[in-house]
Every structure is written in structure tokens, then in C-alpha cells.
Symmetry: C2
Subunit: 226 residues, 2 copies
């Protein structure tokens, strides 16, 4: 029944859908039509239609009105795209002078065009890195991914000093703002105050104090400073 799609016959669109669904729920919780539509900047009916096609091809399961979940095959395809995307970002930053706020758009296009061979050569040139410039873990070629446990900045108690491990954000303007505060993977941050509501956190980084809101705070993943 399911035609042989295994041999890299996924279209650009299909790759984008799979990656989006994975990103909405790496753990496999069902993703809703509207979430997908919002992330891909498409209308909801378009998503319903594509989702139907993808489920016929065995890449995901769709329970009408309930959401979609990737199948094992769909998850593999999605992780392949994530690997590509993050390796491309790392390569562009390392070898072609890109900054972390500009790589995303370029990688978004390249991830569909590059061969597996080229991806592996880029990985080798980089020394097979474990994370990309934002600190996001790069899935292995075999489809495994090692998510490093981390707490959002919003969860760190007053007085604690942590290291930023990951800045999970792709919008250039936000990234530029984050960078302007001196925040990037590897940097140490101390939480000096917290507001009772809205998860406002005051941090000290590089001798400066800044207040971070809920949205930004969730994007900044931290680990205990060594």
C-alpha cells in the first residue's frame, strides 16, 4: 500500500511539515493542526490536507480533530532534517563567517538541497560537534539525539549561578537582543532577583544587571555552573 518513499523522495514541503511537527513535540505528544499551521505560516485547511497525505504514506498518524503524531519513519525523517539544519548552522558560523542570528534563514533553505554526503563532510570538517551555535544538540546520523537536561532561566532560584547551555530561538531580532545582553551558550549568569508574577527574573551577567521576561526566560536553557 504505502509507496516506497524511503529513498529520499520527500519534497521540500513534506520535509518542512515533518520537522515542524517534531519541533512542536520532540517527545511525541500529538501536535494540533493549528500549531502546525502557525509554525509553517500556512492556513489550517492546507495542513489538514497535507497531514492526510502524510498519514497515507505512513509518516504520521492522524486522529481527526485530535492531532497528529509522527510514526517511527516520520520521526527519523524529521530528525534527519534537524541534523542537517543544525550542522549547516554550525558550518556557516565556523567556516563562512556567519553570526548566530543570520544562520537560520540560510540553513532553512540549504537543509533541503544538500546531499547526505555533503552533510557528513561538513560534520567531519567541524569535528562532529554535539551542539550547534545555539547550543541545540545535533542528532546523530543514526537518528539518535541526546537532549541535555536543562532548566529554563525562569526556574532558577535567587542566588544561584548557572551557565547558559542553550538559546533555543531562531528569530534574528530576538537573537540579536539576547546577544546584546551578553547572553550566549557558555556564559555564566547569576539570578539576583525574581518577581512573583510573570516569571520576571533579574540576572547579573558580565557585571551588568538585566530583567528577563517569561518568553525570553524560557528560551534560555541553563545548567549548573561547574
Amino acid at each position: 500500500m504505502s509507496p516506497i518513499l524511503q529513498s529520499e523522495t520527500l519534497t521540500r514541503s513534506v520535509e518542512d511539515y515533518l520537522k515542524a511537527i517534531y519541533q512542536l513535540s520532540p517527545e511525541g505528544r500529538p501536535a494540533s493542526t493549528s500549531e502546525i499551521a502557525h509554525l509553517l505560516a500556512l492556513s489550517a485547511p492546507s495542513v489538514t490536507g497535507m497531514v492526510k497525505r502524510l498519514s497515507e504514506h505512513g509518516l504520521l498518524e492522524h486522529i481527526p480533530y485530535r492531532g497528529v503524531q509522527l510514526t517511527e519513519e516520520g520521526r527519523r525523517a524529521a530528525l534527519r532534517m534537524v541534523r542537517r539544519h543544525r550542522l549547516i548552522e554550525a558550518y556557516l558560523v565556523e567556516f563562512l563567517g556567519y553570526s548566530w542570528d543570520t544562520v537560520h534563514a540560510e540553513a532553512e533553505r540549504l537543509e533541503h538541497a544538500v546531499s547526505d554526503t555533503m552533510i557528513e563532510r561538513m560534520a567531519a570538517a567541524l569535528g562532529n560537534p554535539a551542539v550547534d551555535p545555539h547550543g541545540d544538540p545535533i542528532p546523530e546520523a543514526d537518528g539518535s539525539i541526546h537532549e541535555l537536561a536543562g532548566r529554563a532561566l525562569t526556574e532558577i532560584p535567587i542566588g544561584e549561578t548557572v551557565e547558559i547551555h542553550r538559546v533555543h530561538e531562531s528569530q534574528p531580532e530576538r537573537l540579536r537582543y539576547i546577544a546584546s545582553l551578553g547572553l550566549r551558550p557558555g556564559v555564566r549568569v547569576t539570578v539576583v532577583d525574581r518577581q512573583p508574577f510573570d516569571d520576571l527574573v533579574t540576572i547579573e551577567v558580565g557585571g551588568m544587571r538585566h530583567v528577563i521576561g517569561r518568553e525570553l526566560g524560557r528560551v534560555l536553557q541553563c545548567a549548573p555552573a561547574e
Copy 2:
């Protein structure tokens, strides 16, 4: 009338058509529907249809039953693609360990996906080379191209020693064969014999003798050895 297509809204297909037409006739001689169809591996009616759209957008002129010629705008777009293609080939060979018989397919996909910024960074990383790994000249960013005059190997008289400047071929099998004879840009070749028909040429290269037929002979562009 002609909608504003200037701002990089050309589709993959359109880019391929323009490049194909340019390659069929860099000098601007009209290219026929069937030549284009053959080069792009499409049916003739498909080409007629696309050609009609492209001429409406001012990228080429189509005289029905007579052929098509790129307009200045079309030529610029085509040269942009050629520049991209050749720079990508050069980059892949220089930095990612590709051989000249494998770069073509990869470049064919990448040329549509890469930004102008990235192309210029690749060019800079390469030191703004004038030619690609096959010896084909790389058009400048401003759209100028410096074709180096050369004679096909089939035209070299007996006894003359020349240097191969250019191997104008993209098929991997043919390139591998050519390489297996020790032929590549920069190599010196002496014509030791010629057959009266079929442009057969016997050459000596690296102490070995080989007979080259018409097709291959035309692909090998030579210049007087210094």
C-alpha cells in the same frame, strides 16, 4: 506590464530554463525548443509553455517556430546561476573533498538554495577564482564573463604541444574516463597523429598514447603550451 520579478522571485524551474538556454548559446544565437527540452530532460510542449511564460515576464524573446533568445535581464539571471554553479563546484572541491566528477550534481541543487551573501563568502574563501575545477570561467558578480579563447583538441595539428585549459563536460562517467587518461586542466598534451575522418586524434600525455574521438576532443579545450 511585466510584473516585478527583479527581486529574486525566480523559481527553481525558471532558473534552470534560463541557465540551459544560456548554455546552449552563450553568444545569444536562438536556441530551439527541442534543444532546451533535451538538455532539461523535459517534453517539448512543456518547454513551449514555460517559454511563453518567460517571454511574458521579459526574460527572453520567443519567435514561434524559430527559437528563443535571452533578453538582457534573462542573460543576467542566467549568468548569475552559472556563477553560482561554478563557485559552488570550486568550493566543494577545495574545502569539502569533492572530486571533479562528483561536484556537478551537488552544485546543481545548491545553486538554487544558496543566498548571494553565501556565494560571495565562498568566493572570498576561495580567493575569488577565475575558473572552476573544470577550467570553466566563473562569471563576475557584476555579470561579466571572460571566456578564454581556446581550440578544441580536434583542431590541433600534428606535432603541436598544447596545454589543456578546460574540460567542458559534466557527466561523471565521462569525467572519470577523461581523468583516467591523465587529462585535466593544466596538463600538457602532444598531438602525435590524426585520422582523416571522424576527427580522431592520437595524443601523448604523461608518456602514454591515447586516441581521442570527436565528442571527447571537442570537450577538451586547449591553449598553446607556454
